[in-house]
Assembly symmetry: C2
Homo-oligomer: 204 residues x 2
């Protein structure tokens, strides 16, 4: 079996970079090829359409991040601290990317998903599937927090989805306003959404 190539990965990397920074629509196959150092023929050898490449790129991104997510949401970390670490991590990453490209880029799954959702079922379904996996991290952290009496969450799955949605809204808004501040403040918002009980409670 002759020749091995890392071109497939170079293409998915290039595609994700470009679509994240710009958008699905403005990222042309030509531009992806240029950045990956590929020619058209190679592109359509590996992928049968731009849509399929995009789905593959999102899956590849997930696979790259999974180990990291596993670490951040390790059951050995106290449940509420997992969220803090995760939010810090994303904040720092986006701030770092801003240094490189001048913009807060938000979440690629949301940006691409929202752009494409009414027109491309394959990509839409891919985003949906990856979100489900991500939400599981939230869900089990919430369940753990609940069982430790840190929060009141009789329906961890619903709580996880709600928090996930709130977080994504914050990322999306940060992208549009090109401002990290909202993201930095989110940890406190998350506490409200989770309904974290105060040790030194003045409340209600």
């Amino acid at each position: 079996m002759p020749r091995v190539s890392d071109m497939k990965q170079r293409l998915t990397d290039a595609a994700l970079d470009l679509m994240w920074e710009n958008s699905y629509g403005t990222t042309s196959v030509d531009a992806i090829c240029d950045r990956a150092g590929a020619k058209k023929g190679s592109f359509y050898y590996f992928f049968k359409s731009k849509s399929e490449l995009t789905a593959a790129a999102l899956e590849a991104e997930w696979n790259k991040n999974k180990a990291n997510m596993d670490a951040l949401f390790s059951p050995t970390t106290p449940p509420l601290e997992r969220f803090d670490r995760y939010f810090d991590y994303v904040h720092d990453r986006l701030a770092e990317l801003k240094e490189e490209c001048g913009s807060i880029l938000g979440c690629p799954l949301l940006s691409i998903g929202s752009e494409v959702s009414t027109q491309d079922q394959r990509v839409r379904a891919t985003v949906d599937r990856i979100w489900d996996r991500k939400i599981k991290y939230f869900e089990s952290a919430i369940r753990d927090a609940h069982s430790q009496g840190l929060i009141m969450a009789p329906d961890p799955e619903a709580k996880a989805r709600a928090l996930f949605a709130c977080y994504h809204g914050t990322l999306a808004q940060a992208r549009v306003q090109n401002d990290v501040e909202l993201i930095r403040d989110f940890k406190e918002v998350a506490r409200d959404v989770l309904g974290v009980k105060h040790a030194n409670a003045i409340s209600s």
Copy 2:
């Protein structure tokens, strides 16, 4: 002064419809013209670019909605009820649109803004400006609720921005997942974010 025309408005209407349902990138000037019953020449008579048209379309949409927003957030309505009414209204509207086009469309400002933000400063700034106006409704409702002792919100502006972001995340996710359910559940999430105190409190 000869001839009057409603074409400018027909064009902004058509543009917003198409971009909301699909995306900025996939909405061509030709398609906008078709839907508005205009020819290319008319388009570029009123607008000097697709970008300018888009900004105008977003502003026009705001103007159409403003009276409605004023009513929903009337100071004569109890502050927390204003949110409930607003969320109900948006939910119903999106559900109604889903009947027509099969999809939950989310918020056009967010979808278009997110798609275009790194590449089109004019549209980005327009979204930003309109958001600021909308957040003011949230802000004064929060301030009123605070002064009535219904919630604890020492920084109403920050609270308003946070709630606004959470809400938009929910709308965006509803679009990608094509599912109204998240939106329906948001009223309760909003209560958490706002930190609504329970009359019959078990809490803390």
